[in-house]
Symmetry: C2
């Protein structure tokens, strides 16, 4: 089956307090985005990638792509106003039926094993959303105050969110709604049941400067194993 990954790297990195968007920051001398691209290239050798870049960073993106293990399978496009619009741009070139992974470029530590599990679960059920359990106590604000959640039922959502291409392309034909916080929420609006699968604790998002230190530590631990 055809396999496409849309890697969203359109962010401007305001929260890092750096002038460089976070997907281009260096982790062990390689840009964060480099790791994300390579994980997908490694997972399947017939997978093609569309990287969604901020308009001013196409050249930076191309330089990173040239250093990956197979630049010929990587394409670029530019991001839109919101994540929804960026993903929509990334889906545009996909014109065959298959499986589409939509991934946060700053979740750079995902493994090929997770990508393959997302693929298998999608072939089986039409979509696969990786998620992990919750360790903290969580409360939810209600009309009268707040209430304790059963933490065993809480799932923290990750990416790559994975779908049959026909499904996700149809979902992104809908009008934008600010309640669309991720791709699963867009697809769910069509009445489709969301299929959660087990993600990876190490599949973290590089959002704050300290996350780069955590990422380094995770890479170090992987080397020891």
């Amino acid at each position: 089956m055809e396999k496409y990954a849309v890697i969203v790297a359109g962010g401007s990195g305001m929260r890092m307090g750096t002038s460089i968007p976070k997907q281009f920051l260096l982790l062990r001398n390689k840009p964060v985005l480099w790791y994300s691209i390579n994980a997908f290239l490694e997972a399947y050798n017939d997978l093609q990638i569309i990287v969604v870049l901020p308009p001013d960073y196409a050249e930076t993106g191309l330089q990173i792509i040239r250093t990956t293990i197979d630049p010929n399978r990587v394409w670029i496009t530019t991001g839109g106003e919101t994540r929804f619009h960026s993903v929509k741009n990334g889906l545009e070139p996909i014109n065959k039926s298959g499986v589409v992974f939509v991934h946060d470029g700053v979740r750079c530590l995902l493994t090929p094993a997770l990508i393959r599990r997302c693929y298998e679960a999608t072939v089986d059920k039409g979509n696969a959303i990786p998620s992990v359990g919750e360790v903290d106590t969580i409360r939810v604000e209600t009309v009268n105050g707040n209430e304790l959640m059963d933490r065993n039922k809480v799932r923290r959502i990750q990416t790559p969110q994975t779908f049959f291409s026909d499904l996700i392309k149809a979902a992104f034909e809908q009008d934008y709604d600010e309640l669309f916080t991720d791709e699963a929420s867009v697809v769910e609006r069509l009445g489709v049941k969301i299929n959660l699968i087990e993600g990876e604790a190490s599949n973290i998002k590089i959002t704050h400067p300290v996350d780069l230190l955590i990422a380094e530590k995770i890479l170090e631990e992987r080397e020891v194993q």
Copy 2:
């Protein structure tokens, strides 16, 4: 008003993969627990502390207490089978009306400012539970599948969970229930409304080895400011 802090440091640290319980691990050459105790001693000079220690670590605990800024205000007791039982032991010596803070010993980066805000809010409303907003997408498992939570309404709960002493002591007279995941859940069972206040993003829990690196980074940033 009388002020007591019960600092729970009864854990055995299995998740750290170390033989030393995590509350005794070193952060910049001082044990994690040292930071927690000092923050409370600094917040109010009439505050007394009861540290709940694992049975085999009373001597280790005493050594740490001796190096804090005012060891004469710190007492020790030993932990029980669960967190509920440990807190119950820690509340035992409190025999005057006042305000009680119950704190995770491994949340060692809390500031005196947060402690004072918890106190003020408790004097005002009887209890104060620090919490922070959610940045990830969260889903909750339901009977038929799962549903997206409104992330703006999700609060991650921290400590020190703070209460009028009469309230928390009465709450801990109840029989143990495994749904008691924190002190707020025990007090809430009495029909009391839980008062959430703003916590601190840096008030992290030292649970995994990488958390020590994050903690070092946070201390470094505080020095620069």
